[in-house]
C-alpha cells in the first residue's frame, strides 16, 4: 500500500476535496483561509509523491524542492491573506464573508 503512487494521489485528492468544501461552505473568512491551506497541503503531497515515485534520484529531489517552494509561497499567501482579513475586520467589525457587501450596494 505504501509502495504505490495511487495511495498518495488519492489521499491528496480527498484532502483537496475537503479543503474545497470548506472554502465553498464556511462563512468565516479565516475558516476559508484555513481551507486554502488544506488545499495547498494536498497539492504539496501530490507533488512530493510524483517526485518520490519519479525516475531517478535527481527528478525526485526536484519534486521535493518544488514542494519547498510551494511552502514558502503559502507562507507569503497566509501573511497577506490574514492581513487583508484583519484590515476588513477593522472596518466592518465582522469576520463573516457574506456580510461583506460593500460592492453590491
Amino acid at each position: 500500500m505504501s509502495d504505490s503512487l495511487d495511495t498518495y494521489l488519492i489521499l491528496s485528492g480527498i484532502l483537496f476535496a475537503i479543503g474545497s468544501f470548506g472554502f465553498l461552505a464556511r462563512r468565516n473568512a479565516i475558516s476559508m483561509l484555513m481551507s486554502i491551506e488544506l488545499m495547498l497541503n494536498a497539492v504539496n503531497l501530490a507533488i512530493v509523491a510524483f517526485g518520490v515515485f519519479g525516475a531517478g534520484p535527481d527528478a525526485s529531489a526536484q519534486g521535493a524542492v518544488f514542494a519547498l517552494m510551494v511552502m514558502a509561497v503559502a507562507a507569503a499567501e497566509a501573511t497577506v491573506g490574514l492581513a487583508i482579513v484583519i484590515a476588513i475586520y477593522r472596518n466592518k467589525k465582522t469576520p463573516l464573508v457574506d456580510e461583506y457587501d460593500a460592492m453590491r450596494q
Binding site: 498518495y8 494521489l9 465553498l24 468565516n28 479565516i30 497541503n41 535527481d58 525526485s60 501573511t79 469576520p95
Partner: protein
C-alpha cells in the same frame, strides 16, 4: 453531561477503529509497518481535515489544522523525505498555524460560535466535493503510471544539491517574494492614523 460524553466516546470509537484496522493489517493481512503507519497517519490527516471544515468553534478548527499538518509531516517522513517533514513542521505548524491562531483571536466576536457556521450553499458544496474526490480517485486508479513504480528516498544531500544548483534562481525569487509579503502584511494590517480604530 451526556452531551459532553458523546463526542469523547465517538472520538474513542474512531480511534479504536483506526488502531484496530492497523493491528489487523499488521497481524492478519501480513502487511509491514510502513503500511500500518501510513494508514494511521492518513486516517488522522483526513479526520482532522474534516474536523477543520466542520467544527463550530473556530479555535478548535485551528487546533485540528495543526494535527492535520503534523500527520502530513509524518507522511512526508514515511515517504523518505525527512527534510520536507521538518520543513512542514517548522513552516506550517510553527509559522502559519500560529499566524492563523493569532488572526482568529483578533477577529473573533463573542457570539461567533453560536451563529450559523455554513453558507446556504453548503449542501451543494458537499456534493461537489464528494464528486470531485470520487472523480480524482477513479482517474488515479485508471491511469497507468508507467515507469513510476519504484519508490526512491530523497537524501537531504541530493535535495540541497538540486536546491542550490538548479533552483538557485527560484530560491532567490522566493526570498524577494517573502520580503514583499512581509512589507505588504505590515502595510495592510497597519492602523490608519485617525481612521477607525
Amino acid at each position: 453531561m451526556l452531551a459532553r460524553l458523546v463526542p469523547i466516546l465517538l472520538g474513542l470509537i474512531v480511534m479504536g477503529a483506526v488502531l484496530g484496522i492497523a493491528a489487523l493489517m499488521l497481524l492478519a493481512l501480513g502487511q509491514d509497518w510502513e503500511d500500518a503507519l501510513l494508514w494511521i497517519l492518513a486516517a488522522v490527516m483526513l479526520g482532522s481535515g474534516l474536523l477543520v471544515v466542520t467544527m463550530r468553534d473556530i479555535i478548535r478548527c485551528g487546533l485540528a489544522m495543526i494535527v492535520c499538518f503534523l500527520a502530513l509531516a509524518g507522511i512526508y517522513t514515511l515517504m523518505g523525505v525527512p527534510l520536507l517533514g521538518a520543513a512542514q513542521v517548522i513552516v506550517y505548524i510553527g509559522a502559519i498555524s500560529v499566524l492563523i491562531l493569532f488572526a482568529i483571536m483578533l477577529t473573533q466576536t463573542k457570539d461567533a460560535p453560536s451563529r450559523l457556521v455554513f453558507q446556504t450553499q453548503a449542501g451543494v458544496a458537499a456534493i461537489a466535493a464528494v464528486v470531485f474526490a470520487v472523480l480524482i480517485a477513479l482517474a488515479v486508479t485508471a491511469t497507468d503510471w508507467g515507469a513510476a513504480a519504484k519508490r526512491v528516498g530523497i537524501s537531504t544531500n541530493a535535495m540541497s544539491k538540486v536546491l542550490f544548483r538548479d533552483f538557485v534562481f527560484p530560491f532567490e525569487i522566493v526570498s524577494v517574494l517573502l520580503l514583499a509579503a512581509v512589507i505588504g502584511g505590515v502595510f495592510l494590517a497597519k492602523r490608519e492614523p485617525g481612521g477607525p480604530s
